[in-house]
Amino acid sequence: MNRKIIAGLAATLACSAVLADEIRNYRAEAVAMMKRDFKAKGIATTDRLHEDGVQAICNRSGDNPPKDIAARLEKDQLESVKYPADGKLMGDWKAGEKLAQSGRGMTWSDKAGVPGGGNCYNCHQISPTEMSFGTIGPSLYQFGKTRGNTPDMQKYVYGKIWNAKAYNLCSQMPRFGHVNALNEKQIKDLVALLLDPQSPVNSK
C-alpha cells in the first residue's frame, strides 16, 4: 500500500514543485540516493527505507500536517491499537523499570526474536532514582500521581505506548506496539511503571 501512496504523492508534489519555481525535488533525489547507498544488515533490511503513510505525511509537511488530515489519520492509528483481551492494562512496574532502562531493539546489531527494550530513559525522566535521562520527550516523573490511574488513563497510556501517533500524528515517539517492538506484557509493565501508586515514579 505504501508504495502506491508514495508514488501518487511524489508525482503530485513533483509536478507542483516544478511548476512553482523550477526547484529540484531534492527529497526524491535523497531517497533514491539512500536506496542506492544503504545495505541490509542483520535484521535491518532495506525495506525500512520506504515511508509508510504516516511517515510520508509527516515528511512532506515538516511534521506539521494539516489539522483535519492529522485528526483523521490519528483516528485510523487509534483504531489499530490492540488492547489486551483480558482487559487488564497494568502489569508489574518493576519489570517496567527494567524495560524502560533498556535501549535495545530493532537495530542491525540486535538479534531477531530477542525482545527489545522500551528505550524510555533515552528521552524521558521517569523514576527519581535514575539521573541519566533524556529530554527529547516530556518528564514522566509523578505521571500517575498527578493524573490518577483511572481505567481511562490506563487506556490512554497503553494506547500511547502502543501507538503514539494515535494521539499526535508526527510525534517523535515510536509506535512500539504497532511495529512489534514491544509486546502486550511489556507494554502492561510500562503502564504500571507510570501509573501504579507503588511505582517510584509516583513516590513523593
Binding site: 485510523d76 483504531e79 541519566s132 501517533k165 515510536p174 517492538a181
Partner: protein, 286 residues
Amino acid sequence: MKQRLGMLLAAAALTTSFAVHAQQSAKKAPPAAKAAAPANKSEVSKEFEKFREVLEEDNPAELYEAKGEDIWKNKKGPNGTSMAQCDLGLGAGVVKGAYVHMPRYFADVGQVMDAERRVVHCMIKYLGYSEADIRKQPFSNVNKTPDHVSVITYVAAQSRNMKIAAPQKHPKEIEAYNIGKEIFAYRAGPYDFSCASCHGEDGKRIRTQDLPNLRKPDEAIRAYQGWPGYRMTGGFMLTQQWRMNDCFRQQRFPEPSYLSDSITALLAYMTVTANGQTYKGPGIKR
C-alpha cells in the same frame, strides 16, 4: 483501512502546500494532563561541562594525530611512497587548513568528497593501501585503530583553530548540501526516526548526552568538531563517517555504505551549516 489511508493522503497532497521544515506541530495535551514538575535538566550537563576542559586539554587523540603525521610524512604506507601528490583541495601535499574546506568538489574524480573519503582516496592511490582492507574494517575498535583513522585525525588537527569554510560554488557542492538536508529530515524505519528526531531542536539530550541542533551554525559546530574524536567508551578514535553510521544504526535504518554519497551529502549539510565557526577539534567524546 488501507484504502481510507490512501484517500486521505491523496486528499492531503492536493489540498496543502507542504512547507518543508515547518514548525513542529503543537503537541496535543494528554487527557486531564497536568505537567509534572519539570526536572532540573541542566544539572548533570553542567557538572560534565566543568570537566570538559580538563578532558580536552589532554586528549589522547593527540597520540593518533602523531601516528597519522608519521604515516603521512614518512612513507610508512604499504608502498613506501609519499603523499606529496595528494590534493586535499588546497593544492598537492597541502594539509594545513584543508580539513575545514571539505566536503568539496574534486575535479579529478568528478564528485564531492568529504575529508575522510578524500584521505582514504589518497591513501589508496598514493600509499598503496587496499580499498578492500579499509572497507573490511573502516572504523576503530578496541583491538585496532586502522591507519586511515590516524591519518584523518592528523589532517583534522592541521585545521585546528581555523574557520570552517566548506565551499558552495560548484553545482555538485550545492546539490550535496541540499540532498544532505533532505536525508537529515527523512523519517522512516520501525521507529519513525530521522536525524532530526534527535538533532532538530535546541537543548535536548539522550540520557545525559547533549544533542546539538544541527540546523543551527553554533550547534552544528559542536557536532562537527566532536569527530574525529577520542571515544572514552572503549578508548579509541572514531571519525565522522563512524558517527553517521552509528546514528543510522540507532535510527533503526539499514547500514549506509562506508564513504557513500549519502554520508558525504549529510556531512556537506552539517559542515556548510557550521561555516564561519572556528574548528577546535579533534574531539574527546563520551
